[in-house]
Amino acid sequence: MLDNETAVTLADLLDRVAGCKRDGFRFVTCTGLRSGDGIDVIYHFDRDYKMQHLRLHVQPGSELPSISPVYPGAFLAENELQDFLGLKVTGLPIDYHGHLFLTEDAPVAPMLKVVDKNDPGEGK
């Protein structure tokens, strides 16, 4: 768990994000990661060099609303969630449909894959 972290739900995500904006926070980015049987999306904000984080837990394949109507700079980071974790973000001003960075023939949601830690990988 990060310092200054608050858990949010899909139902109150946009209200909490709007609250951050009202309180003068700057959106920095969001991070998606596997967490248990689901996915955590952490929204990172900054005000006067103090960070605040909102953590949303969702199931793989979930739809979540874009926070771009509140923070227009968020659309690229949200598109990354679609690329790497297969989440569907609704209401994006520019939607790359899972191909912001990944090509058409790239693996789908590569960060959802469970990795064999004993596989030495390339170059070994």
Partner: protein, 359 residues
């Protein structure tokens, strides 16, 4: 209503050292819509945590960018050190500051040269890069190589800068400063430069914050946001204050970087004056555990590293948000309403780094 046409700006374009594309919808010469396209150089570096242990990842993150490579390693190492409660020796913190500022100097000179070249100032381009060469030479002398210097490690740094090299570094700083005095007036005062930059692509303070701008793009709009002010490495002991300009236009973004260069020179001098003796690293044992966010101010702005570790040698998640990634939204916002001829200078004023953006 005039007919609309779509112009592909990039992926190969004279002002783009790396590939990305802007699909520009134009009405006559005016941009009415801009959509960026990426994916030309995505390497999946974040996911290499699955194959490389947390010590090896220092060398991976250095390769996120070929310009601010040391600062990527610094942001990463600071995060791991926080997770493992490692206290870096004071001398190492100063050495980290010196190499960080050397890379800022080299990055900003690289950018000045590219800007001069884009505006047709061949001699100015060569003068800027001549100055950059002096920085690269002293970087090589102190660190052993010019670009990916690999001096940062978890627990400190790998190399020291002895008294003789400190003297050479001071001489180089004097030389860079003298050369800068020759070329700076052209960037500041030349009528052609001013006509292409003053009042162009104005990003207001409010929009800069709302659009999550970073670095010179944000500070040129009057926002004194610079992660060095948090005091990481030795910045907390060097009387650092962020450089800002108020106009928010292309010209203000040039001036911020010029002033950044002077500030970097002074920061290195101050670091050399105050650098204490002692060890340059501490031994680190065990594996990291927990979650942390680490931030560093790169030449293009704030870089954020989110690290999640689980007590094993492999991290669970590494997320890198680079400054160009943050500055794409402001640029996309600024493009509509701009003349096509002004697009290259706006794009350059962001100082785009696509290797960072796509990782």
């Amino acid at each position: 209503m005039a007919g609309r046409i779509v112009i592909p700006f990039g992926p190969q374009h004279p002002v783009l050292p790396e590939p990305f594309q802007l699909k520009l919808t134009l009405e006559e010469e005016k941009v009415v819509e801009a959509v960026p396209a990426f994916g030309y150089i995505h390497r999946g570096l974040e996911q290499l945590i699955e194959k490389r242990d947390f010590n090896q990842m220092v060398f991976i993150v250095e390769r996120v960018c070929g310009i601010c490579t040391f600062m990527h390693a610094l942001a990463y190492c600071q995060g791991i050190e926080q997770l493992m409660n490692v206290e870096v020796p004071p001398r190492a913190r100063y050495l980290r500051t010196i190499w960080s500022e050397l890379q800022r100097l080299h990055s900003h000179h690289l950018w000045l040269g590219l800007l001069a070249d884009a505006m047709g100032f061949e001699s100015l381009f060569m003068q800027s890069w001549k100055n950059r060469e002096a920085i690269m030479d002293i970087t090589e002398a102190t660190a052993g190589s010019r670009i990916i210097i690999s001096t940062c490690q978890i627990g400190g740094v790998r190399r020291d800068i002895d008294a003789a090299l400190q003297g050479d570094l001071r001489k180089t700083l004097d030389q860079i400063e003298a050369e800068l005095r020759q070329i700076e007036p052209v960037f500041r005062d030349d009528p052609t430069v001013r006509s292409r930059t003053v009042g162009k692509a104005v990003l207001t303070r409010e929009r800069a914050i709302e659009l999550s701008a970073a670095g010179p793009m944000l500070r040129a709009s009057g926002v004194p946001q610079d992660i060095r002010l948090t005091g990481y490495a030795a910045y907390g002991e060097l009387d650092f204050q962020p450089v800002t300009e108020e106009a928010g236009d292309n010209y203000a973004r040039i001036i911020v970087r010029l002033r950044d260069i002077h500030q970097s020179i002074e920061l290195i001098r101050a670091a050399l004056d105050k650098m204490p003796g002692g060890d340059i690293s501490v031994p680190v044992k065990g594996n990291p555990d927990g979650e942390v966010v680490s931030r560093v101010e790169q030449p293009r702005g704030e870089v954020l590293y989110y690290i999640k570790a689980n007590g094993t040698k492999n991290l669970e998640r590494l997320r890198i948000r680079t400054p160009t990634f943050a500055n794409m939204a402001p640029v996309v916002h600024l493009l509509p309403g701009l003349e096509l001829a002004d697009v290259p200078i706006l794009v350059l004023s962001m100082d785009p780094c696509l290797s960072c953006t796509e990782r």
